[in-house]
Amino acid sequence: MPAGDAFSARQQEDVVRAIRLARQQSDLPVSVYVGTLEGDSRATALQLHGALGDRAAGSVLVAVDPGARRVEIVTGPEVRRRLDDRAAGLAAMTMTSAFQAGDLSGGIANGVLALAEHAHAPRSLHTDTP
């Protein structure tokens, strides 16, 4: 993880903690990219998602371009079954409302947690009762 000066240590910690919680609570691998998305932002985000390699299909990439004010959420083909586009859209809205207020790290952390909440597998109550 290259640590730029985009975030203070505490802000980085917030984002890392949100990513860890998503993995622990919902078994959802989330990757967060903050930087410029050159050219077509969606295509660039898909390319970045592909760069995750083997784990791309089961991962979610959150790409934030603060300069162009764009958020792209890319879900891999596998994870898409758990996390539909509507849920991704809601998480994106959670983030943008915080970004508008200038809270970059808080918005990312909340968005990642929102993704994790939506991806949380619903408990099936009837399988373990006779």
């Binding site: 993880m1 290259p2 640590a3 730029g4 000066d5 985009a6 975030f7 203070s8 980085q12 890392v16 990513i19 691998p29 989330v30 990757s31 967060v32 990219y33 903050v34 930087g35 410029t36 932002s41 969606r42 295509a43 985000a45 898909l46 390319q47 970045l48 998602h49 592909g50 760069a51 995750l52 390699g53 791309a56 299909a57 371009d65 603060p66 300069g67 162009a68 004010r69 764009r70 958020v71 792209e72 959420i73 890319v74 879900t75 891999g76 083909p77 898409r80 539909d84 586009d85 991704a88 998480a91 994106a92 809205m93 983030m95 943008t96 409302s97 970004f99 508008q100 200038g102 970059l104």
Partner: protein, 124 residues
């Protein structure tokens, strides 16, 4: 009750009378303080006056120092925190990738874009 008619002239006279009476009362109340003469209270022993430099120090230097101190206290925390993101003022920092590939540059260059995935886009 019958309304009294007040002519402008008598209203003005009344206001003048009240103003004079009030200031006279204040002066009467302050008479003991004026008893010892101007600039000299009973039992006071004034020392030497300030020189020009001392006057400048106490009445310009010290207030300016207090002003600068308070200004520093106000601005120091945000200066220590560094520049923060403000929407619409661009972005200055190097890209950060949390939980990304180990060698990001090579991975991105050699990667094939994901197909069949989903997601969402938004702007603010």
């Amino acid at each position: 009750m019958i309304a009294r008619t007040v002519s402008p002239g008598s209203a003005l006279r009344r206001a003048g009378l009240i103003a004079t009476a009030t200031s006279a009362l204040v002066l009467v109340a302050a008479l003991p303080a004026l008893a010892t003469g101007p600039g000299r209270d009973g039992g006071s022993e004034p020392g030497d006056g300030f020189s020009v430099l001392e006057t400048l120090f106490w009445f310009v230097g010290v207030p300016a120092a207090i002003f600068v101190g308070i200004a520093l206290l106000v601005t120091a925390p945000s200066m220590a925190r560094g520049p923060r993101y403000r929407p619409g003022l661009g972005w200055w920092a190097a890209p950060v990738w949390f939980n990304g590939p180990d060698d990001a540059d090579t991975a991105v260059r050699t990667a094939t874009a994901t197909t069949g995935g989903g997601g969402a886009s938004a702007r603010w």
